[in-house]
Symmetry: C2
Subunit: 159 residues, 2 copies
């Protein structure tokens, strides 16, 4: 992040340097827009997968898919770490992160009891972090049986 400059962004985006200073008031604005877009994309994938899932069992499968896709896209996970780090200092970025967490929590609360929803949410978060840091996918069977265990017997899934 400390290597971000207007010139580099303009170079990567293949736009004139002047257009950046025209549309954005500063580097902070650009980073916020980029992180906003990033989280919207991630939330889009998440919502798409979870909206198609009706039951708790289907939701577990949707989450297994989400985690599996994330493991295939380590570059995307790296952006997550940048966002978390940036959110410590930047209020807008912090809002973006909280928005993302509210999105996932709302989806889970529709399908699981409150405690289970919170636990599953944290577990998915941890899986994303671990997979990205260790550059390795956590076996789907482990993810599936753990999600079922966290969902609990009341969710009607077989653990």
């Amino acid at each position: 992040m400390h290597k971000v400059t207007h010139r580099r962004i303009a170079g990567r985006a293949q736009v004139p340097l002047g257009s950046l200073t025209y549309y954005f008031s500063g580097l902070e604005d650009i980073l916020e827009a980029a992180f906003s877009w990033y989280v919207e994309t991630m939330a889009g994938t998440y919502q798409e997968l979870l909206q198609a899932a009706g039951t708790a069992e289907e939701t577990v499968e949707a989450l297994v898919q989400f985690i599996h896709r994330a493991a295939r896209d380590p570059e995307r996970m790296r952006v997550l770490f940048e966002l978390y780090s940036y959110a410590q200092y930047n209020e807008a970025a912090s809002e973006i992160v909280r928005g993302w967490m509210t999105t996932t929590e709302r989806h889970l609360l529709d399908r699981f009891p409150p405690g289970a929803a919170t636990a599953i949410d944290a577990f998915v978060e941890g899986l994303l972090v671990r997979q990205a840091m260790q550059n390795d996918e956590i076996p789907e069977a482990v993810v599936r049986s753990s999600l079922r265990a966290l969902a609990g017997p009341s969710a009607g899934v077989h653990s």
Copy 2:
């Protein structure tokens, strides 16, 4: 992180600027030493709590304590995000992170079956991240029952 300079470090540490350039070959060296010390401290707390735990049930309680303590120390968790972000670009920092993850995994593998150990490890990670980002503690009862569920019936803990 992008605001780190020799002058600021020397100011905070109340040491002459020259002593930093004498002991460390560059900013990278200083950051690596700081992160190393940070992870050693965190690993120390973790090991201390887990070594005192003999059974799976006691290990669950030790983890509940670890997560509870972390929630009381948001500043420490912020450093974790910096470390994760920095580890994307810096090989030494990446090693430090992997070392930390190996430490926790080894402790858990002593007490739980492999799949359960991996899942519990990821869950603890996710709880730390969520607590730090949402600046709120996840209820101990939720943490405890979730850890028991992840440990599974074979671990002999009551979920």
